[in-house]
Symmetry: D2
Subunit: 333 residues, 4 copies
């Protein structure tokens, strides 16, 4: 049992909104990118990864976003469709924008970095008029992700999606996913993160992300409990605050809190941990699990994905996930 | 009596936020601007005009905004100070921005137009970090105006000011004052007007402005009562909807509505009617008048200003206003 | 007699290319602009002033440029036409650009400054495709001015005009008229000034302007003679180097040099001195005067204009000019 | 024997100026890019390829350009140095620019295309002040390439390099290499191509590229001979006009013309044909070959490179080139 209620008659379970991009993962690992020679192409972007994870687990999933009118854009749409994700809401840019790229460098399992191409990207060109109210009202839940707030008109498109979601009673998940590139400065980021979070039912972020949102408003001594309470005074029912290696804590409006653990695994890279966690956590919440069990599902998915080469293509099926939960060692943080 | 409550111990009555610009009013009227030769320079911009009107009526008034680092900027700051407006919150741009200009053309009392210079203007460069929480909490009320939402970083500065105002219990007035220039499109405008209006206590706008805000959300059959009710579901206590020559209606949360009338006057031009109305209406509300009487004060101020050459410099003193209300003919619309 | 030859059968004497803008001259002089209240509107911009001066002296003059699609743009075109300037080559911007503005401040006859509005101006939007080869080949001479090189596409339009001028044997005058605003930096300026000057027959500029052009190329010990010689190695026949109060020197390819003098006058402001000089100097050169006499005509025109309120509207007729030369005192610098 | 003379005492043979980028060549060929999965990273960009080809043939080669301050930029600089290219003139961008990317798609040997990433690229940020006169005067020859003219400040940097080259008597090669992306329109391109070509000794381009340069000036009936003659009237000694499958013709100022042939080969892709041709053609001209023999060397190099996967890394050594000329079949077009 958990505090969220979903409108069960809707045909779609989850619509994700936002970034669709390409990961180019170095095939030669454990070295700096200067010395890598070949890359493998995957679909990427936090909401894309979550949508793929969600679909792999069996959720009926849709996407609202924008892709470039070229081979990269078509690769993304094809891949989503192969993963049974509805792409009705995926628009094609006609202005000559490109697909965002993320070249990954894996120097060691704990020393990974990303080289981003985010100039003139199609995903940030989604316009409010391309967000369809009729489409959104077919879904039980909406997932938004912070990067889509970074620039106009994508920023306004997210706020329109939020308005439609509230009007039609969708449960809204907000994965903060703050990446400094693209944003002008932290003050701009904090303004829009706060405005969006006011309209969300579940907020998932790191302690640092919540700090960034609170600093602007001169909120001091922000402990996790205070942070969660602030959002409960708006619409939130559930706030998850991640503390890296020290695990995550989920707060619910009734005052309860839940700590997650970690499944042991062979870590190849750290990319994709948050997205895989979110996809399985949301799956759990939407399928009647209580908060602790949903968190455990999130951790299991993360431990699978960080042992593999990609973020999106590595997402487990439900069978894989459950099998992993049965066999891997779970340790509370 | 009216539904608004003000924190009486604050040293400032009203802080206005937003546009500070220059009006260049043609001295030769009743002809197209191609045929005018000389212009007189005045301070302009809707919140500047309202602040000047407020100060003339005796309110302790402050301003948060940004001016260019040149003769135009210094003229504005000097003029505000001469009108007893506190300019602690008026920052000086250091990036080479200019002061916005509005050249007015008065072909006839009913055929007026404005030629705007709004590229690279200082007022839209106000940054969130330049909005001072300590300053805002010294005031009973805050006035925001739509134009300041048109571009970053001024847009974010307004949202930060709204957060501080709510945190410290100021009454917030929102004069919609929608001007299409500067905005990218109506969808962008509607998103930010709606987000800002959610946080305001008093919203003043034309029927067309409210329509623009509602169209985005596919709200149909928006009559005035529905419009007002929508905002009462957020924070609003008072919603004023203007119908041009047909007068204005003010709605209060308790279900009451109030119609304003018009004072007869010799109209020179229509510019400044809305700003002078707002300044005296706010004065009335902040000084214990009931809603109808405050609206009458607004109408009286408007009838004075539209008979004169400027918008800002034409604002009446309290004595002038009261005298005009005693002597001029008031007709309900 | 002078070294220039003009194709006498052409219907137009001179086509000027470039900036068309508005001067807003303070009516209250001898004070800072913060304290001025009214402005008078005049057509301005260096090539516009020269074209007006040329037309007043009786030359058949045309213009290639671009104006805003508003009252300011129409005022400019009307004014040129009233001054018998052919406006066939004046295009109308359709992108929402504005007319450049120059607010003048006259603190004293020797302390004048200008506040410029040069963002998104129509004159810099002239496109190469809007420069008509058939039009250019109807003229004996072409005048270009440095400001039109400051931004694309106006920059390319000037180079296209220069190509047509060379193809059809027009004499090309280049008034350097360097204004730092609008340009990115001095290196950019120097590159395009040098590229344009290579294609010109007469180059007129201050010592500082020539220094700026030479610094980029690390030309040292640039005395006037060396500067002139450098341009004679390209196409120039005549190079005029101005030394402010110390007068101007004109160099011709045959090795001769000529010093100009100054007519005594009551100086109101210094604006317009260069443009009026250029218009009468060009008139003299195109009407069979030798270089020294043409320079004297330039000085006479300058002494008239700096005693009056405007730059453009102050340009003398031929009768006024000749009368002034007969009556005013001429002193060699 | 050929008409070019080189200053033999200079320590460097050739300095190339301009684009340094990354090619990401699909490893899976003969299919659309939507279906490729892995890419191999190579240094790319026309002048980079020519410089690498030149260095492989044993010429002392330098480069003037700009790279991003990231792994891609460092990979490029490292690769140039490994190929014995002097990188003294390669500057590092500090503004957050990225390295340009070219994803190649090889559907068939005759159906190849490129997906370009050219937003905010470091190579176009080379500033005139970063072009060192002392460095240029150490070289016998300079190679410029059209893409570097596409945007400021790189455009101005090329013109400064040309000024220094003329001042110090370098032979200047201009490989037109016109790519429509990055340029605003054809008029802009034609203006700067013409201005640059006026200052070059050897101009190499396709018939279409010369047509584009001539169309702006309304030059009609441009046959190859007329095109070459036009440039001989400026500084050119040698003009090479390529007609695709119909081969190339080189014109010299003395009236002679030379046709090139083609070496038979197994074509993998067409990319790199022009760059490899240019590098070996220039090698031949700089090493005393007559024009026909230099063209043959160019054709030989091209036939080697188009049979291999990359453009840059495929460039032959002198031994390979001479061996190929001995063994492969050469056919006049």
């Amino acid at each position: 049992m958990n505090p969220l209620r979903f409108n069960q008659v809707r045909p779609l379970d989850l619509i994700a909104v936002g970034r669709l991009c390409i990961d180019l993962n170095a095939n030669e690992t454990n070295r700096p990118m200067e010395e890598t020679r070949t890359f493998t192409k995957y679909v990427g972007g936090s909401p894309a990864n979550i949508a793929i994870g969600s679909a792999r687990l069996g959720q009926k999933t849709g996407f609202i976003g924008k892709v470039s009118d070229d081979q990269m854009g078509r690769f993304i749409t094809n891949y989503l469709e192969k993963n049974s994700i509805d792409t009705t809401g995926v628009k094609i840019d006609r202005t000559g924008a490109v697909t965002g790229l993320a070249f990954t460098e894996i120097k060691s399992p704990v020393d990974c970095s990303i080289l981003m191409y985010r100039d003139n990207v199609a995903d940030l060109k989604l316009h409010p008029s391309e967000v369809d109210e009729e489409y959104i009202k077919q879904s039980k839940a909406l997932l938004i992700s912070g990067t889509a707030l970074a620039k106009s008109p994508s920023r306004e498109a997210v706020f329109v999606a939020l308005e439609y979601a509230m009007k039609h009673g969708l449960t809204v998940f907000f994965d903060l996913d703050y990446r400094p590139y693209t944003w002008t400065d932290e003050a701009e980021t904090a303004v829009y993160y706060n405005l969006a979070a006011e309209k969300c039912d579940v907020i998932i972020g790191t302690r640092e992300e919540f700090d960034m949102m609170e600093k602007l408003l001169h909120i001091e001594e922000a402990d996790d409990q205070n942070t969660a309470s602030r959002w409960f005074s708006y619409r939130a029912e559930l706030v998850v605050i991640k503390h890296g290696g020290a695990g995550s804590i989920a707060y619910t409006k009734d005052g309860a809190s839940h700590r997650s653990g970690i499944f042991r695994t062979n870590v190849l890279k750290t990319f994709g941990a948050g997205d895989s966690y979110a996809s399985a956590f949301i799956y759990g919440l939407m399928n009647g699990q209580d908060v602790s069990e949903a968190m455990k599902m999130g951790s299991a998915s993360a431990s699978i994905v960080i042992s593999r080469h990609s973020c999106s293509d590595a997402m487990p099926s439900l069978e894989e996930l459950l099998n992993h939960m049965d066999t891997a060692i779970y340790e509370l943080a």
